[in-house]
Amino acid sequence: MTSREYSQAAPQPFFLETPDAETPAAETPDAPSLFCVWRAPQNDNAARVWVLVPPFFEEEKSARRTLSEFARRLQNRGEASLLVTPRGHGDSGGEVGSATLSDWRADITRAASEAKRRAPSAEIILCGVRLGATLCLLAADESGARELHLIEPIVSGRVLVRDLMQRKKLRAMMTREESGAENASPNAARVLAGDLEDIDGWALSQTLRDEIGALDSLQSSPPNASTRILQISGRSELSPLLQKLAAHLNAKTRVVVARPFWTQNEESHDETVFAALLEAGE
């Protein structure tokens, strides 16, 4: 089978609907539809299927193109993928303001079940970015993942919340905004009432903010899946936090000196990033 034949199968977007009583995720009957994109080789005989979990909030928008391109390249080498959009993001249903970490973890498990249904004989590989990576770590065993690829996983949720607040302050500082973000939000009334908090332009409930703040990947149980951590940044050495996490999870690591694709507004495909991502799965 040539690369050209693998790549001829068009991507299949679909909505993953609320699970029925026969699926493991039936305990979440109110789960919203999740927008997904399935890619499989023409012969539909993939030995591996990747469940790709993007980062969250503003980072999800920036990461979309890179993850789609990664999925296309996986298809070119005969591997299937399911790129899932978490609830409250993009075209998926639900709202971030109503979501919890358990909801997003359940979304990943649902996506993995769907990938298994479409490719019953394939091994499941979970690949997540930033908070998506941390949630993949938490969902790895229940998803039946054989491999876990974590791109810049969030080690400390407290640091993530602080970073989100800092970004908001910096944007306000540069644009001389005071409370413009809150007023522009569709959840403005709830933000102003204190029910939701505007963090970097996203309205989070206090519950979700507290859950994220309490995240500590160093407290998670190492999964059964073989694990790899990728750092993509300007640093040429693995950060101390990721070193600790790698030791805790007995994970392999890879440092890629490149712009983090989840922060870039312009479309650009850094081949060093793709080389590292594709190498991670070999």
Partner: protein
């Protein structure tokens, strides 16, 4: 001593922001945002870089546009914070 500090700042800026210049090419008083097209995303990377390079945590009151105006202003800020 101050030259060393400013070079350290410049190296961090070039590395974190993937600038296509050498640290030496950054003038001490060059307006960073205008000269290098720094947006809020890049500014955030700069803040994280400063915190990691100089082992400090910025407070709410530290987020003033003039702080990050140039290498000179960043060096002044670091001295004021006792980070060097």
């Amino acid at each position: 001593m101050d030259d060393e500090l400013k070079m350290r700042i410049k190296r961090m800026i070039v590395e974190r922001l993937f600038l296509d210049v050498t640290p030496r090419e950054i003038a001490d008083d060059a307006p960073l945002m205008e000269t290098y097209g720094i947006d809020s995303v890049a500014l955030f990377e700069l803040v994280v870089g400063l915190e990691e390079e100089f082992d400090l945590q910025l407070e709410d009151t530290d987020f003033q546009i003039d702080t990050f105006k140039s290498v000179d202003s960043i060096a002044t800020f670091l001295h004021a914070k006792g980070a060097v």
